[in-house]
């Protein structure tokens, strides 16, 4: 509880930084250093060591171009780099040194850092940058990131350290698109060899602080420090070893017995079980993730907007948060917690975010469901928070005559339904980047430009999304996305419930830990391990 207060006070200060709540000493310096790639610099000089990281998630592969899974992104952020780093205050140059945008917003000129080496030993130049981004944006290469580059018309090499992106319409999110989520800068011609994709699981070809040294199926991934890394002094560790442990209980036991030094918990409330273990530090971090209830506008009674509104008015988010995460999170409305101050709309200006069961009943009656109605709610196997959330939601919705049948499916089945626009009423769980275009466009723009998984098909909202993408003035952008969020509130394609805190547990030998709000392991580039 005490931690919660502190977290919300910090948020009220208007500082959108991820803050380790229990590490009180770093509160002031952390904000200033948010803009530094990979988190705050350490105060002392400690070098060496192999950090053992317990991970509940095993990356399917280590291919940043073709594998869109979050498990892959988490680890490859230490191995591959884009032109920018995703700081909470906005994109910060990484492989780029600086950039200029033309008056009309259609030409981006990027000046690249010199003296950067790939893990292969080659020097990085503009030709590699052009190759890498041309590869990812060509849909025939099958990258999940291709959709972010539809506004790019061509990429030109000006000289070895200058590259120009020509757009066919302005895209204010271009710099953050050139970040570390999908794709990366790799040596030109990497994919010419048909075996290159498979080879990425054995040897890395990136520019990041760590390179891949071993990747054993269902066992571990070992990264070792890249000796020619371009950032002076980084990384501090000699190696990072991720141990894949598919089970919460085994993870906790391994933390206790010092088999692992560091882990993100799968269920934040499990940290209760580790309280009082002397050598362990538990930290809570703000997150960019969100756990919503998604509503398919083509599904049965949900076709009527009044039913969707009634559900929004009946859901008690705080109660669901307590039931599913023991309160380790923040209730949200139309945007994830870490973006509320910068891009959010105050809850008083939103119509359907405050619980009002009487009005919900009226809406149900108007829609012709005064006598109640049945619906299926889908949850996903392995997402622990969804089961208690589903039961709690069923109780809540029974107040307005909705009977929920809970259906639990395997993730593969769920993704299939989702992608085929056949999702019905379901819980969802997804992370984002700190940019409203990256958050909303793909999910909510009408087809074919967006995926519109929820069959929302909202023309007004789509127009705003296009306008927001092409506007670079921050004030104007904020207004546009505020307007968009109000439509989201009124027409309810999704009910964002809460952002779960990221809870990390580390051995006290681990120093200078920083957890990025995406949940990705950026911070380990600056982490230190005392021998």
């Amino acid at each position: 509880m005490h931690n919660n207060c502190l977290l919300s006070n910090i948020r009220k200060l208007g500082v959108a930084a991820a803050v380790a709540v229990s590490a009180l000493t770093m509160t002031t310096s952390a904000f200033a250093q948010d803009a530094k790639p990979y988190g705050p610099d350490p105060e002392e000089e400690i070098r060496g060591g192999n950090l053992m990281v317990g991970s509940l998630v095993e990356p399917p592969s280590l291919d940043p171009f073709h594998d869109g899974s979050d498990g892959r992104i988490r680890v490859t952020t230490l191995v591959y780099q884009g032109l920018f780093y995703e700081a909470m205050s906005g994109p910060v140059p990484l492989l780029a040194k600086s950039y200029e945008v033309s008056e009309d917003g259609l030409t981006y000129t990027f000046n690249l850092r010199e003296g950067i080496k790939f893990h292969t030993g080659q020097d990085m130049t503009a030709a590699d940058v052009k190759y890498s981004y041309d590869y990812i944006r060509d849909p025939d290469n099958g990258s999940p990131g291709a959709g972010d580059y539809t506004t790019v018309e061509s990429i030109e090499v000006v000289d070895d350290y200058t590259v120009v992106f020509n757009l066919d319409q302005p895209n204010a999110s271009l710099p953050i698109t050139l970040g570390n989520k999908y794709g990366a800068v790799v040596p030109a011609g990497t994919f010419d060899d048909p075996g290159a994709r498979a080879a990425l699981n054995r040897e890395s070809v990136g520019t990041g602080p760590f390179k891949i040294s071993a990747f054993e199926t269902n066992s571990y991934l070992e990264l070792t420090a890249f000796e020619d890394y371009w950032q002076e002094g980084l990384p501090y560790l000699d190696a990072v070893t991720y141990l894949f442990m598919p089970n919460n209980a085994a993870l906790l036991v391994a933390l206790r017995n010092e088999r692992i030094d560091f882990a993100q918990l799968g269920r934040p409330q499990d940290s209760q079980q580790l309280k009082g273990v002397d050598h362990l530090n538990i930290q809570r971090w703000e997150s960019l993730g969100q756990k919503p209830l998604d509503l398919d506008s083509d599904y049965g009674p949900l076709q009527d907007v009044r039913v969707r509104q009634a559900i929004a008015l009946t859901v008690d988010k705080e109660e669901i948060l307590q039931a599913s995460l023991g309160g380790y999170g923040t209730v949200i409305h139309t945007i994830p917690a870490a973006m509320q101050d910068t891009w959010g709309v105050p809850v008083e200006e939103l119509e359907f975010q405050t619980r009002d069961v009487e009005r919900a009943k009226e809406l149900m009656a108007e829609a012709g469901y005064a006598d109640g109605v049945e619906m299926d709610l889908t949850t996903i196997n392995g997402y622990d928070w969804m089961d208690p959330a589903a039961v709690t939601l069923r109780e809540q919705l029974s107040e307005i005559g909705i009977t929920l049948n809970i259906k639990r499916v395997d993730l593969g089945v769920w993704i299939d339904n989702f992608r085929n626009h056949n999702m019905g009423l379901t819980f969802n769980d997804w992370p984002t980047l700190p940019d409203p275009n990256m958050l909303f466009f793909r999910h909510f723009h009408q087809r074919p430009e967006g995926a519109d998984f929820r069959n929302w098909n909202n023309e007004e909202a789509s127009a705003l999304l296009r306008e927001g993408r092409s506007t670079s003035d921050p004030e104007k952008r904020k207004e546009i996305y505020a307007e968009f969020q109000k439509i989201l509130d009124r027409t309810v394609p999704t009910i964002m419930l809460f952002s779960a805190d990221i809870v990390t547990v580390a051995n006290d030998k681990v120093h200078n830990l920083y957890q990025h709000p995406t949940g990705w392991y950026f911070g380990l580039a600056k982490t230190q391990l005392e021998e």
């Binding site: 592969s61 899974s69 699981n201 571990y220 141990l243 209980a249 206790r256 395997d410 299939d416 626009h421």
Partner: protein, 317 residues
Amino acid sequence: MGSYLVKRLGASLLTAMLSSIAVFLVVRAVPGDVVAQMLGQSGGSGSQAEDALRRFFGLNQPLHIQYLDWLGGVLKGDLGQSWVRGQPVTEVVLKAFTVTLQLGLMTLAFATFLGVPLGLIAGLYEGRRVDTAIQAFNILGLSAPVFWLGLILLIAVSSLFSWSPPLIYRSPFVDLSDNLATLILPILSLGILQAAAYSQFTRQCVVGAFSEDYVRTALAKGLPMRVVFSKHILRNIMISLVTFMGLILIQILGGVVVIESLFSLPGLGRLLITAIEARDYPVVQGALLMVVFSALIVNLLVDMLYHVIDPRVRVDS
């Protein structure tokens, strides 16, 4: 024996063939494929990227062509490549299989060396206090689910000795003590159930044998109990015990799925689970074929053993 072996092998191959078709169809019957997994929430279906990936994996081909392609490879000993990681499936599956095999055989040895003596003692002293104690062990062992037992062992050992198993599996040929430290808890969790089952079965065999005419005759002849037991009873129940050993080994192969996940072991069971989750068809098919083959081989071995231990089988065939 020669013609019998040929017939037996022929039947096994036919079973393997039919299983391969079943395996091929079953993995594809699960909704969602590797392409959907890779693209996730990044775009809807029917996109150009999706088509490109589907072509890359040959998923655009008709099902029977996909099957024949795969079968052609299998006959040449090539199980294809993992769609997710690109490694040769044969290599991945064999590597995982060695882990499971070691775990399975050691569990079998544990179950046999604990279960059979306990069962023999209980049978010999039927109705006595020692029999009651052994039966209590059997019932407890049989009713504890493997996953629960594994979890309890892990937590109990951790809080009693502040110790938990190493998290990276090393081959016994590389580091034997580390290897054993990794496997001891999984073997106990899987083995206690099987030892209880084996002990209960053995006891029944012994008790049953005592009411047989040949035992009564032997005892009536005045043979000492020691001789009746070792020369008559043991020899007669041996064939049942060996059959049961085969059953137990197959049971253990089923149990590893759960236990490998709990103890982070890179075996065949966990490989199957992760490959199914990723819809990595070549790996799922390869791993399932491996399971089918091991079951066939175990059955074949048990049949062979009959010939060795029971002269009657030799004569009949």
